[in-house]
Amino acid sequence: MSKKAAEINEQIPWQDLTTGCEIYEPGTSRLTKTGEWRSRTPVWVEDKCKQCVLCAPFCPDASIPVKDGKRADFDYDHCKGCGICIKACPFDAIQWKEEEV
């Protein structure tokens, strides 16, 4: 009965829903690509980045991946383009994508 979220969609019959609409696995929200909501796009300017990672905790959408103390490029599948990271960066290493400004 432990059905996976990826198998659940608005086309399946009622018999195939999980009991009580429970979910038995972690973080299935990642299947939703909220990057589609974005109207403006922050861009990481790697040259200017000092890897202070001050931007990372302020992303409401966990879209600034950090590994071994260093950030990587944005997860644009999920970044909603709020721009908090742009203001969090003391080094101007995150900027709005020019054509959208």
């Binding site: 990672v53 905790p57 302020f58 992303c59 071994d68 997860d75 709020c82």
Partner: protein
Amino acid sequence: MAYNLKNEMNKEERFHSGHRLCAGCGAGIVCRAMMRAVDPEDKAVICNATGCLEVSSFQYPYTAWEDSYIHTAFENASATASGVESAYKVMQRKGKIDPNTKFKILAIGGDGGTYDIGFQSLSGALERGHDFTYFCYDNNAYMNTGTQRSSATPRFANATTTPSGIESVGKKQTQKDLTQIVVAHGSPYVAQTTLFGNMKDFHEKAHRAIYTEGATFVNVLTPCPRGWQYPAENLIEICKAAIDTCVWPLYEVVEGEYRLTYEPKKKLPVEEFMSKQGRFKHCFAKGNEWTLEAAQEYVDKKWEELLAKCK
């Protein structure tokens, strides 16, 4: 262990992307930080009150949570947490679960689910002293239903049920000081924090709350770009203004002992906080100067009271 942002950010994410909170929502930042404050080797059960966070973080079949999660209703996150915590105790006692796996019981709600409709169940759970931590993401109004005033809404704020107009300068009453009310319950650890700097203040308070035995409470001022009417990217400067004006003082109360955790070098006038947000726009109109004076007077009075407690 001293706080190190890089170490914190190296941790596996426990509040995932793909949730449906608005772009720039402070609650997303709160949840990620709250979950980083649970040690990686420990598991958690999150009990969530109905609200923005609930409808956005668990929309069937998509949960943003790495850990177990339960939502039952709006006003009962603390009661639900009481049941989970009781279950944890009895299952340990009866040997029904692995004694080597620790679970931390967390409850989280907005100011509606905490200050207002959830106040009774919060008070009950605090009094009973269940071993859990309640996080309030206080965004100063009922945001999920469209910015209606709550008892956490500050005086003069424009909410959809306290709109400004010819006969109105926004909400008439000052906000309920819930943090002090929780202190009065005798909770072993109570703190106020918000989102700024390298998140050290938040993390240390959250971690201490979660790892203090008993019913503990963390009240987080959490900006809402839509309800507070500011450009989403300005979140950090608004939080900073809240603490530098002393609109939202940072402090903790450990076993009844008050400790100020941040004192602004120069206490800024409340305008610095209010002018950044559309919800206070009418306060800056000609003829309404008195509202700024009254807001300042209130903040000064509360700040002096707090300083006296911290001495």
